[in-house]
Structure formats: structure tokens, C-alpha cells
Amino acid sequence: MITDGEFSALITEAAETIPEPTAADAILAAARVEIDPPSVASPIAKVRRHPRGFAISALGAAAVLAIVIAVAASSSSSPSRITHRAPDAAPAYGEALQKTARVTAGVTKNVTSSASSTAAAGSQDIITTGTLSLVVHESALGHVVAELQAIATSLGGYVSTSNVALAGSSRGGTVVLGVPAGEFEKAVSEAESLGTLKHLSTTATDVTGQVADLGAQVSALEAARTQLEALFARAGTIQALLSVQNEITSVQSQIQQLQAQQRVLANEISFSSLTVALAMPSATHASAPSRFSKAWHQAVSHVEGGLATLLADSGIVLFSVVLLVVLGLIVLFGGRLLWSFVRRRLV
């Protein structure tokens, strides 16, 4: 007689003597490598003999090829998919150019651009950045920082970085504002009124091509993903299913990376960055001495230097001779003055 448990053990033993199937591992390994892996063990070979498996693998390979061709072909021709453009960046750039004409003595203003004259067309994607150096009185430093923050907020922007020392020997620092591209010029003008402008530099970079490239790549990859999803629904073997799934995962990852780049670029286009460097008058603007004062200080310095040199080079003998001569002259002139005084009294 045999119990249920013993019978179960008997059947289980019979089942477990069946060799461990390798097909699952082989299928997974093949799918991880590529759609058409090198020849492997027989389970995979059997899978490959399946005509639908062949068809799916071939379609998968064609889809991947289509992605590559589409991305390469569309990089220069497809339209941008970034919806937010910055047409106002061009006027800002133009006004910045006009600002160059208002340069005052001692103030440097640089305007550089890769946008060239096409920026004026107003249909470009422009990234505008600027650097402003201001000299402010130390008592007004805190107020200026608060004002800069107010300027950014009132224009719909924000303070992205603020690193300012309000006390101590190294008072001053940097405040970086992010302002809407259309308000960049206004932000510059309001910020420069908060102190004495020492330096202004603005840069406008045309990224229209970059935006178009990213948009084209995302479009091509999305189209490829759609095709792969259709293939996935028709996959006839596990190997084909896994292969197409891996391709979809890979394409999806590429799409997400490109979309992240698009978001960063769109933000840079929408918001211009204005860096305001703040410094104290004592540190950067010491009062300039007059020419007479300079000459006097030079003369004194030279006399002191000459005496020191004479003393050092002649030694005690020469110094004593000079001292005796000086004393002799004093006695001579003093004696003559005394004799003149006495003679007048006697006469």
C-alpha cells in the first residue's frame, strides 16, 4: 500500500528527473543581447524555426533601422516640438546693442551673440544671458539685494542664486536672476539703476537648430516606438516578445532623455539669466590722488630714500663731516646775526 504523500513524492521524483529546461534562460539571454543573437542551444534554434518568429525578428530589425535613418534624415529638416518660443528675446538683443552706444567713460559693455542678424526676425529660439557689475555703497548693500529680488519677482522671474556678504571685510557678492526672456532688458535697466554700473555684458545664443534637432529626434523615436508596440502585439514567440520589449524599453529611455533636454532648453529660452555682481567703493573705486599730491608724495619718498641710501653708503665718518659742516654754518650765520645786532646797539 502507498499513501497520498508517498505517491506524491513518487510523481514529483519522476518529474524532477526531467532535465532542467534551458529554454527560458536561453530565451532571456538571447533577448537581452539583440533581436538576432548568435547561434545558441537547441531550444532557441527551435524557436527560430518558427516562421512567425522570423517575421517578427525581421520586422523588429527593420524598425530599429528605420529609427536610425529617420533620426539622421530629420535632424536638419523637421520642425521644432518645443512650443514655447522666445520672440521677445530678439528685441532684447537689439536693445542691448543700442545700449552699447550709451557707454559711459570707464564702463565696459560687451554684447556678444551667435544669433547674428537673424535674431531680428523674431522667429528664432534665443538664449539670452547677461552679467552686470555694480558698485554700491556699503550701507545700501542689503537694500540693493532686496531690490534685485523685488525686480525679479515683479517681472515674473525668480532669484536663482544669491551669494552676498553683508558684513565683514569682503562685503559684496553675486545675485543671479532668472527673468522671462521678454523682460530681460527691463531687468537690466532696473538693476543697473541700483548702483554705479562698472560692466555690462550680454550674450544671445541662437539655439533654433538645436531645438529643431531635438524635436526631430523625439518625433522619429516616438514613431519607432509606435511601430514596435504594434510588433509587440503580434509577437508569436517569447523570444520575439522579449526582443521587441527590450527595443521598446531602449527607445522609451532615449525619448525620455531627449525630452529632458528639451525641457532644459525650453526653460533657458523662456527665462534669461542675469548675473549681478555687487562690490563696495573701497574695494574697487578708491579715490584717485591729484597730480600735485602724487608729485609731493613722490618727492618726499625720494628724499627719504636718498638720505637712507647716503647714510647706509657713507657710514659714520661722512655723516659726522656733514653734521660738522651744518653746525659750522649755523654758528657762522648765528654769529653774524649776533654781531649785526650788537653793532646796531653800539652805534
Partner: protein, 186 residues
């Protein structure tokens, strides 16, 4: 939507269930080519209808249900194309359902004999037996897996054991029914 799923979900499914599913199919079908086809087909069905699969304890009978159905499909296809297929001995077989005396002499181990005996059972009895004694499913779970009433499952299990007990290849193993079951059978 494909992209809404965990990319490793299918891998996990395969790693957890492929071996028991393969061995169940091997006990039900015997032929290596048919087993491969049936298990692949089963996992494709499982993957496509994964959203409809129950979770937790309810998953196991459903996995086996799909495997058993795929085995039945494979067996039906085989019977339709039997005249056009290569002879059985030309294929890679896990076990032969009709071994020669020489093969029996070579395969004296118990496991091999048990497998051969199972394969000699009628198809309708094989599935409950394998699911009960190899997969460890309860009678209720087997009823779900083969879409039969629990009472039917119970009687098929009994019949399967009775036939195995009578199988001369297993006579030396003493597979006779226990006393309580003998009474039930009477």
C-alpha cells in the same frame, strides 16, 4: 500598453514558472518538441492576458490552467497532423510513450517507469493526476485548472491511481490503493 508595464515582469514570470510548467507539460505530453511549443504558447497567452490574471494564491491554478490548455491544444494539433509528421522516434523525446523492451531494460529506474506509466494513462486522467501529485494543487484548484467540477476531479484522480496500481511496470512499487480508498472504490 507595453510601456506601462515593468520591463522585468515577463522575465520574473518565466523564471518563477517556466520549470514547473515545463515539467508538467513533459509529464502530460512526453514529446520534447510538443512540450517546448506548448510551454511557449502558454507563456505567450499568460503574458497577453496578464492583466486578467488573479493575484496571490489564485494565480497558481490559472497558470496551470493555461499550461494544461496549451498541452491539450498541442496534443490536438498533433493528432490532426499525425499522418504528416515525422515518426515519433525521429523526434527528441523526453520520454517515449511506447518504449521497447530494450529501452525498458535500460531505464530500470523508478522515475522513468513512473513517467512512462503516467503517459500511458488516458489524457483526461493525466492532467488531474499531475496537477495533484506534482504541482500540489488541491482538488478545488484542479477543478479551476481543468474546468471541471471538484467531484469530477476526485473521481478522475481515483481512476488514475487505480490504473497506475494495475500497471505492470509499477507493480513492484506497491501502488495499490490504501484500505480506505479500496472501500470507497467498492
Amino acid at each position: 500598453m507595453v510601456t506601462d508595464t515593468n520591463p522585468g515582469e515577463l522575465e520574473e514570470l518565466l523564471q518563477q514558472w517556466y520549470t514547473p510548467a515545463y515539467r508538467t507539460a513533459a509529464l502530460l505530453l512526453g514529446d520534447a518538441v510538443k512540450v517546448d511549443d506548448a510551454v511557449q504558447e502558454a507563456f505567450l497567452r499568460l503574458w497577453r492576458f496578464r492583466d486578467a490574471l488573479p493575484e496571490g494564491d489564485g494565480l497558481r491554478p490559472w497558470i496551470y490552467r493555461v499550461v494544461v490548455n496549451a498541452c491539450y491544444s498541442s496534443a490536438r494539433t498533433e493528432s490532426r497532423h499525425a499522418g504528416r509528421r515525422a515518426p515519433q522516434d525521429a523526434l527528441d523525446s523526453v520520454v517515449s510513450s511506447d518504449p521497447t523492451p530494450d529501452e525498458i531494460a535500460d531505464q530500470r529506474d523508478r522515475a522513468s517507469l513512473v513517467r512512462q506509466a503516467i503517459l500511458s494513462l488516458p489524457a483526461g486522467l493525466r492532467a488531474p493526476l499531475v496537477l495533484r501529485y506534482y504541482a500540489g494543487l488541491s482538488e478545488k484548484e484542479i477543478a479551476t485548472a481543468i474546468r471541471r467540477r471538484p467531484g469530477t476531479v476526485k473521481s478522475r484522480l481515483h481512476e488514475a491511481r487505480r490504473l497506475l496500481a494495475k500497471d505492470p511496470r509499477l507493480a513492484h512499487l506497491g501502488l495499490g490503493l490504501s484500505s480506505s480508498r479500496q472501500e470507497e472504490a467498492k
